[in-house]
Symmetry: C2
Subunit: 206 residues, 2 copies
């Protein structure tokens, strides 16, 4: 994590919006400059190249998503709650930051070394959080993972949140909480959770 000046932040936000809308290759530095209310040259005072700007956007996004999952993990006290809190937080983060998240998840291939390796490390760290959470529950007997495939199940859980950025837009924000809750229910089933939620009355169910 690192701080940005207001000017840097403004360019960063403009770049995130432009990359999200047109892709890295389809975005011109002029477009970014206009969105940021600056001249094209002003962009290069803060970032040395378009790719450097993508790296800043991508790193900031990955760090924020990771932070959200770490916070969720640390508020829970049992494997079930830990995993579901992480799924809920990750889903909500991708929905509430859909534009940034789209850049994070779809523009990795446009990064060049050494930036690519830095981002790859953040991704591994995030994945490992989910793997660890599943393994904890599996070891304690709270979970019963399909085919004993912990890494594959972790991949699938992450996909539930990540793939939302392919279509979700801020227009749909009122549906975010419902989607996050569904992902939590699905995650419980996917890991074979034996944790029983307090059942709602069947007669008033829905």
């Amino acid at each position: 994590m690192q701080d940005y000046t207001p000017a840097q932040q403004r360019v960063l936000d403009a770049a995130a919006a432009a990359f999200s809308e047109h892709g890295f290759g389809g975005t011109s530095t002029r477009d970014i400059a206009v969105r940021a209310g600056r001249s094209p040259a002003a962009v290069y005072v803060h970032y040395s190249s378009k790719e450097d700007l993508l790296f800043a956007v991508s790193r900031r996004g990955h760090e924020a998503a990771l932070r959200a999952m770490l916070d969720a993990r640390d508020t829970a006290t049992c494997p079930h709650d830990r995993l579901t809190a992480m799924v809920h937080a990750s889903t909500l983060w991708h929905l509430e930051n859909a534009l940034l998240a789209r850049v994070v998840q779809h523009e990795f291939g446009a990064l060049t070394e050494p930036h690519r390796s830095t981002i790859a490390a953040l991704r591994r760290e995030t994945s490992q959080l989910v793997v660890d959470a599943i393994e904890d529950g599996n070891a304690s007997g709270d979970f019963d993972v399909a085919d004993h495939d912990v890494t594959g199940t972790a991949r699938a859980l992450l996909s539930l949140a990540i793939d939302l950025v392919r279509w979700f837009s801020p227009d749909h924000l009122d549906r975010a909480e419902g989607i996050a809750n569904l992902n939590v229910r699905l995650a419980e089933r996917m890991v074979g959770s034996r944790h029983r939620p307090p059942p709602r009355s069947p007669s008033t169910g829905r």
Copy 2:
């Protein structure tokens, strides 16, 4: 579905590879021409613009993916087998055609009207197949969908296959069958399938 001449097909394949690697905006028509072994001008004999070429790639991919799911659906005789066959087929298609699938799933936003609407219709058709399969099983009592949210569950099932294109490459093809099988197991859990697979001996489990 429609046929292409060998020359059209060659340009189409070149474009799919280039779009997959660099994105639509990051791909030049010269790059496509070189990959196809043609001059830049030859591309425009077969396609009127770069966007028209993306449309052809996208339509061909969507139609192939839809066909794979339709074939899977029609080979099954009960709701459980129908859904799992579709999940297996969809997952395998996205893995075995990962480069094309990446264009299909990540470059939708670069399409312009009326192409965008044509592709959107193919996507709705594909989604509806999954929704119908889940509803069938829910109605027959074979499934017990979480929160009674059929469309949300369908979205999640599709994400399990689709999100693979974000990282999967042809280098990993030996893992495709294992991933498809895991997605099937996860799908069974996600829809609350009561169908019991023949249990393997617990003592020799895995």
